[in-house]
Amino acid sequence: MRKLLMALSVLFVIGSLGLGQVLPPGVPRAETLIVHSLFAPAPMPGNWNLWAGWRQNNNGLHQFATEALWTLNPNVVEGGIINALAAEPPSYNEDFTQLTIKLREGVYWSDGVPFTAHDVVFTVLATRETPALSFHAQMLEVKEAYAADDHTVVITLTRPNTRFHTAFLERWGTLRPMPKHIFSQVEDIMAFDFHPPLSLGPYVYVNHDPAGNWALWRKRDDWQRTVTGMLFGEPAPQYVLFMNYGPPESHIMAMLGHELDVFQGPTEAMLVLLEQGDTTRSFREAWPFIDPRDLSTRGPGFNHLREPFNNRDVRWALALAIDAVEVAIMAYDGMVALTPGLPLMVLPEFKEWYFERLEPWLEEFTLDLGDGRVFHPWDGEAPWRLLEWAQQHHQVDLDPTDTDAVRLTLGYGWWRHAPDVAEELLTRHGFSRGADGRWRLPNGELWRIQYLSGTDPTDMAYIVALAVMEQWRAFGITVDHVPSAAAGHLTWHGEFEVSAASHGGWVGEVWGVHPDLHIGFLSLRSDLVRPIGEPTLGWAQRWSDPRMDELVRELELTPWDDLERIIELGLEGMKLQIEEMIAIPIINCPIVIVFDESYWTNFPSPANDYARSDNFTTWPQLKYILHHLEPTGR
């Protein structure tokens, strides 16, 4: 026993030498923010040329080094678009064939060279002339680009385009200015690795992992000469380390050992960290813990070129056969926001723009059951049913009488679980139940749905798919789960019946803080639909409708700042998608995040809501919110 104790003591002494410590000498832990590198390993470690296709945006390049002309306001409560490198909003001529961009003065690259209009012009023209560069396709619309002076860019277009500036608007990926004094000296932009990267943002590159698992950044000495410094002030951490520890178990251990400040991962990992960590917390202190405001949705999508999914009543029957509250509980222990529309974000401004105007229509909306009978499918009480369940099983900090709080946490509502109505909708089209209770197709064959998903069991789309399949099976439909590593390829080519990723191809992903839904409707155009077997150019689900074509055309003719008209057209599009039940979005993708407040505090919370939580992991707006952090002094 004594020997054992001595051996353990020796091990502890060795352990205290810090052999396992993560930071290099000279980088104090107390001045370093360590965030989870979510999409690791980086695809091209050491290659920072993100203009030449997908590089490693996520390891600090788009968070710290590059800067956009305009960007989404990280504060989703305030909403709106921020002028970043641009000094003012985009200015078009009358027929939208010329865009004038006024640039902010006093911004410098990290090597001391001033940022000017010549950088923007060079970027636009180089992108137009180099086919393989990102955003080349959009820049083909540029007839001419020139610098009217050091801080004014003029771009003339080959056709009227009210939304050309959105190519420079940072959502998650945009065309950001290149440093002309570097890139103009390069013979082949595609082959240039831009290593080490120059910064236009408030941090500079220090080091990276050649295997792509980490990247270390240091605050610029002249951070005041960046957009971040001018608009938001000094970022708190001296260093930021983007770190991938490997599997979730390693991240849990790292955070419990205070070697990770921000972690975004599976719900199981979150619950373990909240339970075992003394200094860990999520966005909310109590259930549902998560931040529900991601810009994407999850739920089944149909191949509209396949029988019987080209039948609107069949699609509605499949929706009414789902109890969304049960799905939320099964898939995520209820920690999600229900979303009935594509897209219907749970954000304050979005609620005002869209949900409040849509709600009366939803209440009135009916499905025709024949013989003069109608059914009202809208269930505005669904979030409260979810809350009621949670109050019986968890400690909850949501006040059921605070309608706004409930809706902006658990969603606006969903469709009634009405298997009897679903049955009517199916039988009127010749579907029948066999003696075994299983549904038959109109030709008498067993109805067997093939439900395609990816292979990652921790993926949200996969988890939701499992819950949906259970619902349909309980309703009597035979469902085969088809997990495939080639799910993306198969959906693109239309080789599926039902797919787990209904929101893909930008449908359902919008700006969030601007009401324009053009970005979400664009790929629904009917001229983009391709037959099964061919890669489609639009939405993989291949739904189309001339009414949507007309809406997209109308939106393209509507100026970006005519918000009323934009909202009007957006509402029309939403109603059309809902009437047609083009897919079944069920939940907004929950942001499952954990903060360790051992070294840093003042992360966002409902009471201190300065940013969406995932701005701390993958989003480029990270640089704008770091001034909120406060060191604990540990």
């Binding site: 060795i14 352990g15 052999l19 396992g20 993560v22 930071l23 290099p24 980088v27 390993p41 695809p43 091209m44 290659n47 030449a52 296709g53 997908w54 945006n57 996520n58 393989a132 990102s134 955003f135 080349h136 396709a137 959009q138 083909l140 190519a167 959502r171 990926g173 945009t174 595609m190 082959a191 080091n207 992992d209 050649p210 295997a211 698992n213 980490w214 991938n244 520890y245 490997g246 599997p247 178990e249 390693s250 251990m253 419990l256 050992g257 070697e259 495939s484 590593a485 080639a486 993306g488 390829h489 693109w492 930008w506 970005i519 664009l522 790929s523 983009l528 890669p535 150019l537 639009g538």
Partner: protein, 335 residues
């Protein structure tokens, strides 16, 4: 002359044929994957925020196809594959375009080789020797203890074993790094600090592989020795008063070693494919994860590069084993 005609030439022909067929399969199989590298790239663009106006998607697809060298007939691509192979050029990685495949392999392969060869050899030597001695003294208390330990450890799934050691040595006793190949800020150069950091980072993954290797080789060798210790020549040696240690090491273990040497040779060939789970759990920058990601992205060139090297090493290992076996085993020489 007889050796050449009856042993060497048939094996050389077999070696060349198997290598050729293997490399041809390496060209064909990735193309049978239901994954299109162009689609993967476009999905990657879209996943990470790049909005491609649908009207211009077609243009982008054709640009990428020509950039990736995926134009032309399958036969033209096959001829190009052999031309590249003979100049040791596998072209650019499609998932990590424009980085050459050879650059990626050159960076990742040394990590894999250093970790796997050292773990394999240590596990093989220790497991084989201890297993040999334990097989001979199979009734001793120590053997029963070792046997019990091996029977407990060996069925543990590797991922669980790795995770247990990870928890023990990085969390309960924070002695070792959580993963990676080298410390943050340490450049992999030939100096004391770098070597120390590399060794420190390799300790835990190596330990998991060595433990697994020792138990496997221990059990296999013990069984062989237990069988061969009751053979006639061992009885005869014992009756003639030959010392136990001489019998164990010169008669029993030496004979039992032959199948184990074959096993070692084959195992060494397979190290070029990497150790995927080890690399995932410990974030080890080896070639296994590189190959896995290449498959997931439909990166034909990278799959071909790694697989081609692996196939050539495995077939060459088998040939060398075949050629070395007569030197080790007089029975083969006699035949």
């Amino acid at each position: 002359m007889t050796f050449l005609k009856r042993y060497l030439i048939p094996r050389l022909i077999q070696y060349l044929l198997v290598t050729f067929l293997g490399l041809t399969a390496v060209f064909i199989l990735p193309r049978l994957l239901p994954i299109d590298p162009i689609q993967q790239r476009i999905a990657q663009y879209q996943t990470f925020g790049m909005i491609i106006p649908p009207d211009q998607l077609e243009y982008m697809i054709s640009t990428l196809r020509s950039l990736f060298g995926l134009e032309g007939t399958l036969w033209q691509q096959y001829v190009m594959f052999w031309q590249r192979l003979l100049t040791w050029d596998f072209g650019p990685s499609l998932a990590r375009f424009p980085t050459p495949v050879s650059t990626l392999i050159a960076w990742h392969l040394p990590w894999t080789l250093a970790l796997l060869i050292s773990s394999l050899v240590i596990g093989w030597v220790v497991g084989t020797l201890v297993g040999g001695v334990a097989g001979y003294y199979h009734r001793s208390k120590a053997t029963r203890l070792l046997d019990g330990a091996a029977m407990v450890v060996r069925p543990i799934p590797y991922y669980i074993l790795a995770l247990l050691l990870l928890i023990l040595f990085t969390h309960v006793l924070p002695l070792l790094p959580r993963g990676g190949g080298i410390g943050i800020g340490v450049t992999p150069e030939f100096n004391l600090a770098a070597i120390w950091s590399i060794l420190l980072h390799a300790t835990l993954p190596a330990l998991t592989l060595i433990i697994g290797g020792i138990t496997e080789h221990f059990q296999a060798m013990k069984l062989i020795v237990q069988t061969s210790r009751s053979e006639d020549h061992v009885w005869y040696a014992r009756s003639a008063g030959v010392k136990d240690s001489t019998i164990v090491f010169h008669y029993v273990i030496r004979n039992a070693m032959l199948p184990r040497i074959t096993h070692l040779g084959l195992s060494l060939g397979f190290v070029f494919s990497g150790a995927l789970i080890t690399e995932i759990v410990f974030r080890y920058p080896g070639v296994g994860l590189l190959l896995f990601n290449a498959i997931m992205h439909g990166d034909y060139n990278l799959i071909m590069g790694i697989s081609a090297i692996s196939i050539m090493v495995i077939t060459t290992s088998i040939l060398l084993l075949d050629l070395l076996l007569p030197l080790v085993d007089p029975r083969v020489r006699h035949q």
